[in-house]
């Protein structure tokens, strides 16, 4: 019975690179979120834009921190 070895969904050698890129993109979007909050007034703020920016930032930060944990040896 030729069994297929199970490998990780993403090649392990990419983990550090992915961690750095995803975290930096996430932090850029977080920065843009806070800049938007700071420069807009109560009247000009639009909730959908805030939520989408927040969602996108949290997606990148979440996956980036997962890859950061994996790259540093904490195999969750």
């Amino acid at each position: 019975m030729a069994s297929k070895p199970v490998t990780a969904p993403v090649p392990i050698t990419w983990y550090p690179t992915l961690a750095v890129f995803m975290l930096s993109i996430g932090l850029l979007i977080t920065a843009s979120f806070f800049i938007y909050e700071a420069t807009s007034s109560r009247k000009t703020r639009s909730l959908p834009k805030e939520l989408t920016t927040g969602a996108l930032a949290s997606f990148f930060l979440g996956f980036g921190s997962l890859f950061l944990l994996l790259a540093s040896g904490v195999y969750v």
């Binding site: 019975m1 069994s3 297929k4 070895p5 199970v6 490998t7 990780a8 969904p9 392990i12 979120f33 909050e37 703020r45 909730l47 805030e50 939520l51 927040g54 969602a55 930032a57 949290s58 997606f59 930060l61 979440g62 996956f63 921190s65 997962l66 944990l69 994996l70 040896g73 904490v74 195999y75 969750v76």
Partner: protein
Amino acid sequence: MEASLRAHRPAALLIFAFLSLIAVSSSAAQEIQILNAERRIDLSSQVAIVFLTLKVENTGKAAASDVILAFPPTEADHLAEVKAQAASGKKRKKTYAHLIVEPTDVPDAPNGAKGFRVALLNPLSPGETSTIEVLYMLTHSMEPFPAEISQSDPQLVYYRDSAYILSPYRIKQQTTFIKTPSTNVQSFSRVEPTNRASMELKYGPYEDLPAYSYAPVLVHFENNNPFAVVEELVREVEISHWGNLQITEHYTLAHGGAKLKGVFSRVEYQSRPSASGVSSFKNLLARLPPRVHSVYYRDEIGNISSSRLRTDSRKSELEIEPRYPLFGGWKSTFIIGYGLPLEDFLFESTDGKRYLNFTFGCPLSGTVVDKLTVKVVLPEGSKDPTAIIPFPVEEHMETKYSYLDVVGRPVLVLEKKNVVPEHNIPFQVYYSFNPIFMLAEPLMLVSTVFFLFASCVAYLHIDISIRKG
């Protein structure tokens, strides 16, 4: 014994004829006789390795499908492994076929002897002979005597066995050879004919002995080989589908030989190593799989730096040196941990289930483990774990809460007592896992971060100031 048998022989013949006329079914005791038995006992290490060659003949009317081996109850408690194979062919072209051995009840055995049934490949027809080879190992069967020695004494042990091979069948001719690790044999019991030639004792040949004959013998000899006993070992194998297998092993190591009495002089130990502490040991070798990474060796105090790791493409060897050399009665506890790449050990079978192929048993070579617990921690969301192991173990399930866990990881716990290095063979754990569950971990992180952003948005939108309405 012989005189009474001769007197009862005519009566026995009549009874045998009567029974054969009735044609009793084969569930009655099969009529087997052992033509020639040779037993080689190797006492070089702390485990007594016994190699038994039996030439079996079927003297009954019905075909015999198995051969029963008997062990005295004290020996049966210390049996670590019983293996059998059938030899066929001539001297140079022998082929060996593995036979299944199972413990069995021997109801009419005297003094509570325990039995093992060896299933023959092809049933032995009446009048036919066959040769089977049995290998069995006994742990803790060498008793240190004197029980306490000083630092400069050699270690002497007792080995108790029988000059006659214990068997439920009549043995026509038998010989027992005992091999000692050195030429220093203080004393040995004589059951004539007995001979001794440097490192080998020969008991026999003995002719025509009835079933269950037993002649206790005692050999008192010097054995300075390390009596490294791991009293308890807990091995945890954590599977992470992100690409790593993390093994953590908790050891309680003890020296199982003669206890040290008096003081331990480090000066004497280091200045005269050939005369001082000859039965002590100071390092152990652990054989690990290749491509191992992040190996650590520590105990409750902290990291133990006296270790060497040598890796190559086929194996890795970790040589560990506990903080102090181990003398009789001394113990040491430590933890060894390492990581392994997942693709070497986790596979997907044809029916969609995944299985882990890993070695059972202690990686430290030359040690006997009194109680071994292997815990296989499966990723969160795994279902239906089953284990396929070549020897009997006790199984039960637990749950472990580890990194980013919500419901916990299922843990399959396998326990076995009396483990020797022969048990270092692969076993498999099958389980089913839906790959979508792997997303649970990153999504948990994403949702935590999003909760922070959402609370930020909420704070900025909510007006909590008090104003004139």
